[in-house]
Amino acid sequence: MQHSIDTGNGVITISLAEKLSFEDHDKFRELLTAFESKEYKNCSINLQQLSAIDSAGLGMLMIAFETAEKNGLSFQLLKPQGQVKRLLEISQFDKVMPINY
């Protein structure tokens, strides 16, 4: 997993690239600590450059959503592609969190 973070105007966007998998668990949880900051009201995870996700990765996106919810931030997933998009659809994540295609 590669990532970059953009912040400004109370918005934090984490952009993920390559693959989100089991091995990224600790690194991803570390990224989510940013949601605890009082500076942000909205958070997004941009998936445009993410080419693949495994079962553990899907679980991490749910954890991201729950972390945002707990900290009172609005949350959305942006531009999932290919296999990532298919897995989100099969798992009906759109019924829990906004997904902006």
């Binding site: 089991f22 553990a56 679980g59 099969i90 009906q92």
Partner: protein, 412 residues
């Protein structure tokens, strides 16, 4: 005489008394054509507490000694008559039993070319003459301790490997047995194919089939997120829960809702299981099911088409949300209707054009190899063979394929 552990040049790391004993009783073979050097090295080792020292005066004699009993360390001279140290190293390294025995060279030959050659021939380490007691003892200690560390790691590895193998067998035990499947085939007039192979590292696949009555049968496929032992343990958790939920087998949506609550309470945050649970009613010739984000099943209804089609498996995976209502889907499942369930491993393999097979790829492959006169077991075998061919050297994930066909005549 001091106890070996009191000697400062002896092994001092964190070893148990038994391990320390094994180091001091390790077999050390000293090979040198000079009796004086042999005695000198032997005296050094004895003074440090090593007790099992043997001597050879040339490479050939040493080879014979090694054949009788493989030593734990060889201290070797290079220049000797009959067979020199280089040839001895080469001979030792060509045999599997002695490939890893540490060889400590002690020699007066200290040019770069000599040193390079000695290591090329398989020496582990080198000290240059004249013999310095503390140097010889320090190197001896390092090599014998290393040997013990490797032995510890090997013992640990072997124990874990054997426990994983036992766990794999336990996972195989919770699958329906061939005898059970045969009984269901005859009793319910179904054609059933079942393939399950747990990964060598264990995994989270589980599947099952339970007759509910003479005309109703439930079956399911599930896969826990993550890998390895944790995912495998969760399959047992699910099996236990399902064994106590027989009253829900005929209502897959209610079963998934309750199982979801159970798993949400018990799984670590972010962990989940995908699942499809089916109940086939042979009186109504109807398949009722509920899905929680599994792989889309392949279904063939010969009254509609000769081709297998992908059906929806959309649904929130179990354990992610505290309360979730699952939908019940009912489809006609008349005579000769077929369904194939599979775990993600089957489609997450690369095909010859370097793209993933995917659900559509699998559907096309099944339609291509499917013929009415081919036994379903044969078709499953073909799919499994293709799977292993595509995996090549990669470690296989758990693989489950379940096939079921209704052979019961439609009552008009």
């Amino acid at each position: 005489m001091p106890h070996p552990s009191d000697i400062k040049d002896g092994p001092t790391s964190n070893f148990s008394a038994r391990e320390r004993e094994s180091i001091f009783s390790a077999k050390i073979l000293v090979v040198d054509d000079s009796a004086l050097i042999r005695e000198l090295i032997g005296a050094c080792l004895l003074s440090a507490g090593y007790s099992n020292i043997q001597y050879s005066q040339d490479g050939k004699e040493a080879l014979n000694a090694v054949k009788k009993e493989v030593p734990d360390l060889i201290i070797l001279d290079l220049e000797m008559p009959v067979m020199d140290g280089f040839e001895f190293c080469k001979a030792l390294r060509s045999e599997p039993e002695t490939r890893n025995v540490p060889i400590l060279i002690q020699s007066g030959r200290d040019t770069a070319a000599d040193i390079t050659r000695a290591f090329e021939y398989g020496a582990s380490d080198m000290v240059v003459k004249p013999i310095k007691k503390y140097e010889i003892l320090a190197r001896t200690k390092v090599h014998l301790e290393n040997k013990l560390f490797v032995a510890r790691l090997e013992a640990f590895h072997d124990r874990v490997a054997s426990e994983l193998e036992q766990a794999r067998r336990l996972q195989l035990d919770i699958c329906p047995t061939p005898a059970e499947l045969n009984e269901y085939r005859q009793r319910l007039n179904l054609n059933i194919g079942w393939h399950y192979e747990p990964s060598s590292e264990l995994g989270g696949d589980i599947g099952g089939i339970f007759p509910i009555s003479e005309n109703k049968v439930a079956f399911y496929i599930a896969d826990f997120s993550g890998h390895g032992v944790a995912a495998a343990l969760n399959t047992f958790r699910m099996q236990t829960w399902l064994a106590s939920a027989t009253h829900l087998y005929a209502t897959p949506d209610k079963l998934l809702s309750k199982l979801n609550r159970f798993l949400h309470r018990n799984l670590a945050s972010g962990s989940y299981a995908t699942m499809m649970f089916f109940c086939l009613d042979l009186n109504k010739q109807e398949l009722c099911y509920s899905a929680a984000g599994s792989q889309p099943p392949l279904i063939q209804d010969p009254e509609k088409s000769k081709e297998f089609q992908l059906a929806s498996s959309h649904g929130m995976p179990l354990g992610l949300r505290a309360n979730w209502d699952y939908t019940e889907i009912k489809i006609p499942f008349r005579e000769n209707c077929k369904i194939m369930l599979y775990s993600d491993a089957l489609v997450e393999v690369k095909t010859s054009d370097d793209t993933y097979l995917g659900d559509e790829g699998l559907r096309d492959e099944v339609n291509e190899i499917w013929t009415e006169n081919l036994d379903p077991e044969e078709i499953l075998k073909n799919l499994v063979t293709n799977f292993h061919r595509r995996l090549q050297d990669e470690e296989a994930d758990d693989l489950t394929i379940i096939y079921l066909e209704n052979r019961n005549k439609n009552v008009s």
